[in-house]
Symmetry: C3
Subunit: 278 residues, 3 copies
């Protein structure tokens, strides 16, 4: 992964001095814009336990760093992010399940909490398929732009799990309960155009020009009056913030229960069995 | 109507043993899926006083029946449901109006309350025109699929009435206040495509393949991990449930006043006068 | 401006007896319908300090006038309304800035409060470009119809300002946070079709037939049972009214701070400098 981050950094050599390397993540600063890229292309940018902790810290630090005025998320390679690395659950000693489930729940709650609390504009630049937690937290982003190669799927129910990232609260408010349930409960995968139609995504760009067009816009935004942007975000979030933290807590508590449930274990085993047969 | 129910039952003979006959309703179980069909095709599936009571009981019983994991609503014939049977209001002795209005309000509040409280996924399969209360309660469904022959209309204002089914709360949240008012107050009828565009409906299917495609999907969903589905629905609803019951109560109280008002009586008389002239 | 109002009045001579002249506004009554038109076409219908006060009074008076059952807003000429007249801020003696900012905040809070409290249906007939405050208050309208020549833009951030009209609350609920931020923070201008797609607008009409089609509909609505309409609006608004007043207060307090900030002053100077160079 280290090498992946370096490849990414070297392709934009003018910012390389500011680039920071994390396992599976590439963080760059360009003026007042910080870009965080999921960077494990061989694993479709799946999020490891360490990446959750690193992302939480990166966001919490950027929140206090006055030189950062705007943060954008994207992915290296063809995927945006394939969500939680299911290997995070593998090889756990049965006697440790309860302990690990609680630790994972706490890790997730802090991770999502960092998005709820982030005081500056947060923009998603969705270059390709997005899955699971990388989709659900988009409801906490300020705006989302997508390449026409992006897709959005949240296969929680087939894995015996339940939604996180405050999506049980944000998704019905963004796209209405009918589409939110179709996506979150019945595993409907949205194309970029469908995601735009139901307001999860603000604008869709042709994949050929996505990097130039969408990234350029975001770069421009980073020079807008910073206080105006922060105050505006605060106006929008102030009435929901407490509610979002409650939802986050409830979602994580439910997942801690789910991860220890027979239903979830069977569903995950079925998933890997089907996968290994392909 | 009895014969209609039998026709419906016989056309799906493999489930006939589980079929239950109600006046104007047909209730079937297929594995863990319960399908409730409005079945008064000659009356465009209008809902009688008895049907409100039966549906309330069916939902409240299914809520506690572990063999039922998912409930779908649909209509027999070309209509989904033409809403409240206006004959429910006819032939009432003027001295009884106050008593009947209160009873109807109570019946309606319990009916809508059963939808608010229903703890399992509830899916609308809208095969044709839907009117009035059959449209408004869709805001309490978890997802809605429609045939391209479906339409959605709520002619409350022309009848001197006001919205129910919690639509005064759910519709602005689903489709924004601009479209919600156009539909609920100004009697705009939505096509299936328009209902999808404004997020009331999640997916639209060609009428030719609606039964196979949409019904098949719902059948598949009924085998998803049941606890995951229930917990997810609970996460979505938990913050709104109390609010929804308040809205339901307010809407019903308002209707009890409306049904006894001069404005409403004149509007209904006008409606029947116009109708009889056609 | 007086002459503009007269031109407008004379072009609809049958209502001229009921017409009332305000500087920059034309107010007409046609049966139970009151139509308020922004009428400063040479200034693209920008809103002066006096117009804010007049509009507040007009709405508060119409609220209590039983002969008015429905109010529609539109614009005279090619624009709907270009928003706050930036000249309102010009020529202010530096020592008066704090006083003027507070007065302007109070004026704005009362203006927006009149929309929050207005108890009868309020319809926007957007004939052309709408900017700033004329866009944001649309979230408080009951429904909005637009000509295909309408556009919607809210360039707050580039002017170092923040949203008003309760849009920080209503816009994310109408169009989802992703599009709301794109519009309110990143100055994305919506076409009529885009505004309809994201539910800010309910219906779009060809500009050629906008006056006949859309105005005719609104005229028809004004003969619907008035109590039904008012009670319905009250059901929809009752749960949000207190919240909306809080949001309005917060937004205005923030603007009072913004108008006195270095960031805002520099942004406005930049705006006029760029404009004078064109």
């Amino acid at each position: 992964k280290q090498s992946g981050a370096q490849t990414e950094a070297s392709s934009s050599s003018d910012q390389s001095a500011q680039g920071q390397a994390y396992d599976g993540l590439s963080v760059k600063k360009d003026g007042h814009l910080m870009t965080i890229a999921f960077n494990r292309p061989k694993k479709y940018n799946a999020i490891t336990t360490k990446m959750y902790a690193d992302l939480t810290e990166i966001l919490n630090t950027a929140a206090k760093d006055d030189s950062v005025r705007l943060v954008a998320f994207t992915g290296v390679g063809s995927y945006y992010c394939s969500g939680n690395d299911l290997n995070n659950f593998m090889g756990v000693d049965p006697s440790d399940i309860s302990k690990i489930a609680k630790e994972s729940g706490s890790l997730l709650e802090n991770f999502v909490g960092a998005f709820i609390n982030f005081p500056k504009p947060l923009i998603g630049l969705i270059n390709g398929p997005a899955i699971g937690i990388s989709v659900t937290v988009l409801g906490l982003f300020d705006t989302v732009y997508a390449s026409d190669k992006a897709t959005f799927s949240t296969p929680f129910t087939v894995l015996g799990q339940t939604p996180e990232g405050c999506s049980s609260f944000t998704f019905p408010r963004i796209m209405g309960n009918s589409k939110a349930t179709d996506v979150l409960m019945f595993n409907r995968k949205l194309t970029a155009a469908e995601a735009e139609k139901c307001n999860l995504v603000s604008q869709v760009f042709p994949s050929e020009s996505f990097e130039t067009e969408a990234f350029e816009k975001v770069k421009e935004y980073s020079s807008l009056p910073p206080q105006s942007m922060r105050y505006q975000k605060d106006l929008v979030r102030t009435f929901d913030r407490e509610q979002l933290h409650k939802v986050n807590k409830m979602e994580c508590e439910r997942l801690v229960e789910r991860w220890q449930s027979q239903e979830c274990m069977e569903a995950i085993v079925n998933f890997f069995t089907r996968k290994s047969k392909l």
